[in-house]
């Protein structure tokens, strides 16, 4: 068996969720009809000039800080020149020669450990238009053109698709926690291009293959696994692995050559003469960053969560914050079932969870009632179900459900139930004590759940003289 060196690097493009575009005041809104949010600037009309969106620059600086990057005192933009219909000016305004962030890192949680993976650079640039292919024709939607875009580049340091996926998930989570992007992959807000080279151990030949068009973690993983296999087989068969760009075919589950890279493309970069260099503002560098996923992770572990549980909770910044607040009053053991099972069973997309129908103080009240025995467990489950499915605050449900019937009322109902179920009573008396649960159920149902089943059981037992 031959041994191989696998080197994987990634380039990630992230759409920033600023209100307006990178170099004009057009709205950022991809849900509008095509070509509604456009102006002379973002469609490259003659005579127009770019004006940078300060918020986007601030976001780029904040991301660079969160990724532990070095940030220069001054920044400038450059032009990347190439022709393509989705690029209205014939050049993209980007960063070259200087980046907003250098030599950063992303913490990746592995078991209970945190490993740091390097980031080479964070660049701020502008998005291109969207090409839409219909019946062999290309249509262009410039709503997307000019949206601020971050380009995050890693060196080829990953040797395993799995570890790369963990890295990407951590990075993506960090960006979501920072509030700079929703990172919706299907919408193209977080796009990944991978590059991979496989060599026999010790060989130096660089036959880097790029894979584009990856819009899900499974596509990234499957395409890399396919490509590693393909390149290994090629090497073992003494075939040459061509330096090229390949596309991932989601249906056939294979990569396909898109274009050969016979020469390095020459983008004729030069500093953007329309935008003078500018200073990185102090406030961008000193502003407090939001708490990041690894903080929440560590706190949850401290409070007794295992890494799997912690990982689930931090996949939503909202839930992470919610849980930590609840954990100030209750132990993790007491709440974990309620949060991880009872609440989350009603959440389809945990990552985009941004609110619950109740606040953490409502939830704490709920837990207190449970602890006092005022809310029976199964009623509690029912309350969560109704709250989550019908979007009702649990506080209202508690009032409604937990108005416990008085002992005399319960007494009356129990007597009714005993009367109506003579045969069951007989069985119980004959020794089949377990049948008592049927009577409890009947009583609870007549009381519409508004009683403590423990008490009901005691009353029945008393009435039937058992125990």
């Amino acid at each position: 068996m031959s041994e191989f060196d696998v080197k994987i690097g990634v380039e990630i493009h992230v759409q920033l969720k600023t209100k307006s575009k990178m170099f004009c005041s057009c709205k950022v809104d991809l849900k509008s009809e095509p070509n509604r949010n456009i102006c002379p600037i973002c469609t490259g009309q003659p005579g127009t000039l770019p004006t940078p969106n300060e918020k986007a620059v601030e976001y780029a600086v904040i991301v660079s800080r969160a990724l532990n990057s070095k940030i220069p005192d001054f920044l400038y933009f450059s032009r990347k020149n190439y022709f393509y219909p989705d690029l209205p000016k014939g050049y993209q305004i980007t960063q070259y020669g200087i980046s907003t962030g250098y030599n950063g890192s992303v913490p990746v949680i592995k078991d209970k450990e945190v490993i740091y993976f390097p980031i080479e650079r964070v660049n701020l640039e502008e998005e291109t238009a969207k090409s839409i292919y219909v019946d062999g024709k290309v249509f262009l939607d410039y709503n997307r053109c000019g949206i601020p875009l971050l380009e995050i580049v890693t060196p080829p340091v990953f040797d395993f698709p799995d570890i790369l996926i963990s890295f990407l998930k951590s990075l993506r989570r960090t960006l979501i926690y920072l509030g700079v992007s929703d990172c919706n992959m299907e919408e193209g807000e977080f796009r990944v291009d991978t590059n991979i080279s496989v060599n026999l151990k010790g060989a130096t030949l660089d036959s880097r293959v790029e894979i584009k068009n990856l819009n899900s973690f499974s596509a990234i993983k499957e395409s890399l696994e396919y490509e590693i296999r393909r390149q290994k087989e090629a090497i073992l068969n003494n075939a040459v692995v061509t330096r090229e760009t390949r596309l991932w075919d989601e249906v056939k589950k294979e990569t396909r050559a898109m274009r050969k890279k016979e020469f390095v493309e020459d983008y004729r970069y030069f500093p953007e003469p329309d935008l003078p260099p500018f200073e990185v503002k102090k406030e961008w560098l000193t502003k407090e960053l939001p708490l990041l996923p690894d903080y929440y992770f560590r706190e949850l572990i401290k409070k007794g969560a295992d890494s799997k549980e912690a990982e689930i909770i931090i996949s939503s910044p909202f839930l992470a914050d919610f849980t930590l607040k609840v954990l100030e009053k209750f132990s993790f053991q007491k709440v974990k079932g309620w949060i991880l099972t009872e609440i989350l069973q009603y959440v389809d997309d945990l990552e985009s969870l941004r609110e619950l129908p109740f606040s953490f103080t409502d939830f704490i009240l709920f837990l207190e009632n449970l602890e006092k025995g005022l809310i029976p467990r199964h009623i509690g489950q029912e309350i969560i179900r109704i709250s989550m499915t019908e979007k009702v605050n649990i506080s209202d449900l508690i009032k409604d459900k937990v108005e416990i019937k008085s002992a005399s009322e319960v007494d009356k109902v129990v007597e009714e139930v005993i009367r109506e179920n003579a045969s069951v009573v007989e069985k119980i008396r004959a020794g089949k004590v377990s049948a008592i649960s049927f009577l409890i159920g009947q009583t609870m149902s007549k009381l519409k759940g508004k009683a403590n089943p423990k008490e009901v059981k005691e009353i029945i037992e008393k009435k039937l003289n058992i125990k």
């Binding site: 490259g44 005579g47 022709f83 000016k89 014939g90 983008y267 004729r268 030069f270």
Partner: protein
């Protein structure tokens, strides 16, 4: 004397209405004897009638109220086509007003039409126009200078009172000089470039033309100043400098080299003598070591930026389009047929100098040379208040004379390009005529934001020589 003030006072005195004043200007513009206009503004009389009503209501407000202004056809005037004298933009209608246009419209200017130029402002003779060459009003066999030839002619021939052009390497000053009018190249950043079709972004400045120096000051007051839409524009400083005459003026030694025609040198000598005698200035010569590299540096920087700035004319969204068998064929045919020879020459030169591996050798080196040129200028400004040189080493040349020899053509700009490379202001002013009655003009070069020093000294000179 101010023609602008004279016209406005004729409105105030009730002698004329704006639409009446416009008639003669428009007639000459329409006649287009020297091919100075590419497009006339058909709606200008409607616009004038609105001003007529204001006159009748006694609301004569605005520094350019009812003043006919022509605009170089690389500056956008909303709803008028803007061609850049190129086939590629032949039918392109401007979707917005350039900042300078907004500003002059706000002051009541009447835009009479769009003037001829070298395609994309690339040229020194106005011969490289898709709409044909323009002709020098003093000798129609000769060029008016370029690239803003049409603007200079329109003012010289009273087709407009004022004109706006653009100056990347001398494109306002050279035609001003060849057509016997004033032309200002402002400090880089003093006037917004928003709405000026870019040739070389780090060199381009919009500049005005006039027959009288006071009018140049009036329109400069209107167009100057920071614009949020142009990040390279700056707030014009509020400097009130007391000017002490005689000024110390440095004369560039190369003004008297053998590359400069004798008649120009003679007139320059004469001009210096008179100014000294009148106590307006004291002169001494200065040298610029970097002067000889300026043309080379200029063509590297200008072409590099142009190659990128002109990439947007690709047939995808607007303008001339040809082909389409494949994406590549569309690009190739559109750009091959849409651009003229000189434009293509410069795009190719610019593409070459930005190529990976050549960038450091050419573009980066040229940028360093720019810094050196500026430093040399600034060193001279420690000794001098102003610098003086001819605008052009030659008198207006014959149409066709230099068209097949681009390098000789480029040398027409030898005195003007160093100024753009340094970002300094300069002004071309008319002085005299050759034996054959061809205009001879000179230029003052100032420190950053010295425009008002130009206006001040030139008012004195205009009075003295009865110029304009």
């Amino acid at each position: 004397m101010s023609w602008v003030k004279k016209i406005i006072s004729s409105y105030k005195e009730g002698e004329k209405l704006p639409s009446e004043a416009l008639v003669d200007f428009f007639k000459r513009a329409k006649e287009n004897k020297f091919n100075s206009f590419i497009t006339l503004n058909d709606r200008v009389f409607d616009e004038a009638e609105i001003l007529d009503r204001k006159v009748k209501e006694g609301k004569i407000e605005g520094k350019l109220f009812g003043i006919p202004v022509s605009v170089k056809d690389n500056i956008l005037v909303k709803n008028l086509r803007v061609t850049c004298a190129s086939k590629i933009l032949e039918n392109y209608i401007a979707p917005y007003d350039a900042t300078v246009i907004e500003r002059i419209k706000k002051e009541g200017a009447l835009i009479i039409g769009k003037t001829n130029l070298d395609e994309f402002a690339m040229g020194s003779s106005n011969e490289y126009s898709y709409f044909g060459p323009a002709y020098n009003p003093y000798d129609t066999e000769r060029v008016p200078g370029g690239s803003s030839g049409g603007s200079a002619i329109s003012v010289a021939n009273s087709e407009a009172v004022l004109s706006l052009g653009s100056d990347t390497g001398g494109s306002v000053r050279l035609p001003a000089s060849f057509c016997n009018v004033y032309g200002l190249k402002p400090t880089y950043g003093a006037v917004s470039r928003y709405g000026l079709i870019a040739f070389a972004s780090s060199l381009d400045q919009i500049g005005p033309f006039s027959k009288y120096i006071e009018d140049l000051e009036i329109i400069f007051d209107v167009i100057k100043g920071k614009d949020e839409r142009d990040n390279t524009s700056v707030k014009y400083p509020d400097l009130k400098v007391e000017i002490k005459y005689p000024l110390k003026i440095g004369v560039l030694k190369d003004s008297f080299s053998d590359k400069v025609e004798d008649e120009i040198k003679e007139k320059l000598d004469e001009f210096i003598l008179v100014l000294e005698k009148e106590g307006i200035a004291k002169f001494s010569e200065f040298e610029m070591e970097s002067f000889e590299y300026a043309i080379a540096v200029y063509y590297i920087v200008a072409c590099a930026e142009a190659s990128s700035n002109l990439a947007r004319y690709d047939g995808v969204r607007y303008g001339f389009k040809k082909g389409g068998e494949s994406l590549l064929s569309m690009y190739e045919e559109t750009r091959t047929l849409g651009f003229g020879e000189e434009v293509k020459r410069r795009i190719l030169t610019g593409t070459f100098v930005l190529k990976s591996g050549y960038y450091e050798e050419y573009y980066l080196k040229a940028q360093k040379a720019r810094t050196k040129i500026l430093k040399e200028f600034m060193k001279n400004f420690e000794k001098f208040d102003l610098l003086l040189s001819p605008v052009s080493p030659t008198l207006p040349f014959k149409i066709g004379e230099k068209i097949n020899d681009p390098v000789t053509m480029y040398l027409s700009d030898i005195f003007t390009v160093p100024v753009n490379l340094a970002g300094l202001p300069a002004i071309a002013f008319p002085y005299s005529f050759s034996k054959n009655n061809l205009p001879i003009g000179f230029q003052f070069i100032g420190k950053f934001f010295d425009e008002y020093l130009f206006f001040s000294i030139l008012k004195k000179i205009e009075n003295l020589f009865n110029l304009g």
